[in-house]
Symmetry: C2
Subunit: 415 residues, 2 copies
């Protein structure tokens, strides 16, 4: 039977709303990949009585408990002590961790307050999870058939420790190996994708195919369980092929991070360069592309032309076009893309001009109307999009995603 | 005694990690302002048995239960039905809501599936919360001294309904009125701020002062409770004055949204304009400024000069400076700011050049080294910052915040 999990986050800052419980989201996503069913998320403050009560309840209803937070050196970090009390384990000093902490502080040339040694205490006979991004180790043990895992609260520490410590621990619990591939989709919604694949999805159990929505895009996860990774991959390959046969037109990558990474990689592979001229998106496209480490090899730069003056003076958009058609128009989008391509000397150039809202523009163009142009060595294409009256942020996000998808398709078509 | 609350989110998508529970963060922050103690966050899937169990537990330990999600028209939206069962209320059709739904669909010229009428069912004798951003109304009732509030899951709907429906309901529970002001701080960490104010904070109870950390900044919330809003404001005024006397140097605004809003407002008030030249931040500053509705009145545009070629050709940074000092240097930062100011014809111009990471640059400049220049009518200033080897995202965020704070201080100093 599949394992059932509860995530218990410990931290008053969560109950005050200072931060969102992103650890729970991250862990839930990863646990789903392992085939572990997450049934509950619980958040309690830095309060031993309420943490104790949450743990007592959790052990009656799941067989995997993962706590996040409360492992640090300050007086309000009570997770380990409370877990030891509930599960009847001793909290003992692990000398190798004390040694590690001393060396860590010495290497950083900082004095170590004795309170830090609290972090070297963990339940006896546990599996230690080392912390590569901080000073608080985590751990796991099993008592009465319930696996208890403790991870640190800060998201960077939690994510890294999950990957290096908790995930291998949890994989070992499962008989066999679970492998999954993610097909990222842009331009088709989750419900459309689901209905195109409904019969296939219903007919499958191993591998399984599941669609997920994610802000402006969606993805399909294809998961197989087998005795070995090779056997799982052998099960997966024909299913991925089969699914691509139906929805491949909208799949921008398998096991890729996002549209910008795919575009940067595709440009790199072709030795090609990109520039951008942005009006309504105000730099968001450039920001997204330069989020990708190594983007400097392909992204030369861009112009945020928020006013007609800049469109004319910097991008050489003829004043007559601006006067005749207005800034939000196909001729101006085309001139912006061609202008920034010439200015930067890039192979490809994207431009975006439109109405992000909250109000229509002075020519009465509605919120959500966006023109996106792509200038390439073999000519310029332009697309008119109506993204509807969602929020300003949403219109801008859709505009950038659509522009990146246009570039991706253009580059793919050149092969 | 202060009310004690539990937030119960209903939705399998949360347990799959498709989205984070941002509703819980938002509500927690607002409830703290009202002086309501949030003791637990709980998340369950679209599963009536587990929701029932969570509700049964919650009614034994808190006197305010707020659910989010599960109010829509599809079969997995079970919150109302389950709450009615647990609290022994009838789920009845509210004809005025049915009428409202029919009119809403008619106005949108869309046919209404009968399943939508499920949304017009609410517990009998409840306070209805209207939904201004969607089709699912919410509500509140009190049973055995426990207040139960139901809000929709989509964050936009949840936030708006909280403000228009739930907050007035909850304020009415409290004797007296709670008013708070938020002092936003940049350039000093939470622990520094706390230690500067420790004695004052400890000596106060009404008004109270509490510091909070928030990504790269922090804020102080000053809260007073009194018989009327006027009386609360009268209590608050001298305390805000007093706190500003200690930490005012780092306070960029009271009851403001963020640094970019403050900068846009300050520029507007002075009839001044801004442009930006960005290297390592790749458009993030322009994006942040243009996130502010109405930014087009003050932000003319910018250049993302990701390569030396663009710095030279578009921004007129002399090639000799780039050769002699490298792109990450004070002379180049100054030339970038002055170049984009001349190009765009703006009153003020910001430039950012530095190393975002993950690797040092080719001259051996370390990750986190950033030069930020501000060109103004009366000359150009430049600041050298070392933000440390945090993530790429973090370095870029700190760089943009520091640049905006520099501009804010410059504009404030002109008064």
């Amino acid at each position: 039977m599949a394992h059932r999990a509860e995530l218990i986050a410990v931290g008053t800052e969560l109950l005050l709303g200072s931060i969102a419980n992103t650890d729970a989201q991250l862990l839930s996503e990863h646990l789903a990949e392992l085939g572990i069913n997450v049934l509950y998320h619980t958040v309690v403050g830095d309060n031993p009585a309420r943490l104790r009560e949450a743990l007592e309840l959790a052990r009656t209803r799941v067989d995997v408990i993962i706590t996040t937070g409360g492992l640090g050196p300050t007086y309000d970090d009570l997770t380990k002590q409370t877990i030891c009390e509930v599960f009847g384990r001793k909290n003992v000093l692990h000398p190798e961790l004390a040694q590690w902490l001393r060396e860590l502080f010495a290497a950083r040339k900082r004095p170590m307050a004795e309170s830090n040694l609290q972090q070297a205490y963990l339940p006896e006979n546990c599996t230690i999870f080392h912390n590569h991004n901080g000073t608080a180790p985590g751990c796991a043990f099993c008592e009465d058939g319930v696996h208890v895992l403790m991870l640190p609260g800060p998201p960077r520490e939690c994510e890294r420790m999950y990957r290096t410590g908790a995930e291998p621990y949890l994989r070992a619990l499962s008989e066999g190996v679970i492998v999954s591939h993610t097909l990222r989709i842009y331009g088709k919604g989750e419900s459309d994708v689901e209905s195109m694949l409904r019969e296939k999805i219903a007919a499958m159990s191993n591998p399984s195919v599941a669609p997920y929505a994610k802000s402006d895009e969606c993805f399909l996860r294809v998961t197989a369980k087998a005795e070995s990774a090779e056997a799982a991959e052998a099960l997966l390959a024909p299913v991925v092929e089969d699914v691509l046969g139906v929805v491949g037109e909208w799949v921008y990558g398998v096991d890729v991070k996002d549209l910008e990474s795919v575009c940067v990689a595709a440009l790199k592979a072709r030795g090609a360069t990109l520039s951008a001229a942005e009006s309504l998106t105000g730099g968001l496209l450039a920001k997204r592309v330069t989020d990708v480490p190594g983007a400097s090899a392909v992204f030369l730069g861009g112009v945020v032309s928020y006013t007609n003056g800049i469109k004319n003076r910097v991008l050489n958009v003829p004043q007559s076009l601006l006067d005749e058609y207005g800034a939000v128009s196909e001729p101006v989008a085309r001139a912006m893309a061609e202008g920034v391509r010439a200015l930067c000397g890039s192979d490809y150039a994207l431009s975006l001009t439109g109405v992000a809202g909250p109000d229509s523009d002075e020519r009465g163009n509605e919120v959500g109307l966006v023109y996106i142009a792509l200038a390439a060595p073999d000519g310029t294409q332009c697309r008119r999009c109506t993204f509807g009256k969602r929020s300003r942020d949403h219109v801008r996000m859709q505009a950038v995603n659509t522009a990146l998808d246009l570039l991706r398709r253009k580059l793919a078509a050149q092969d």
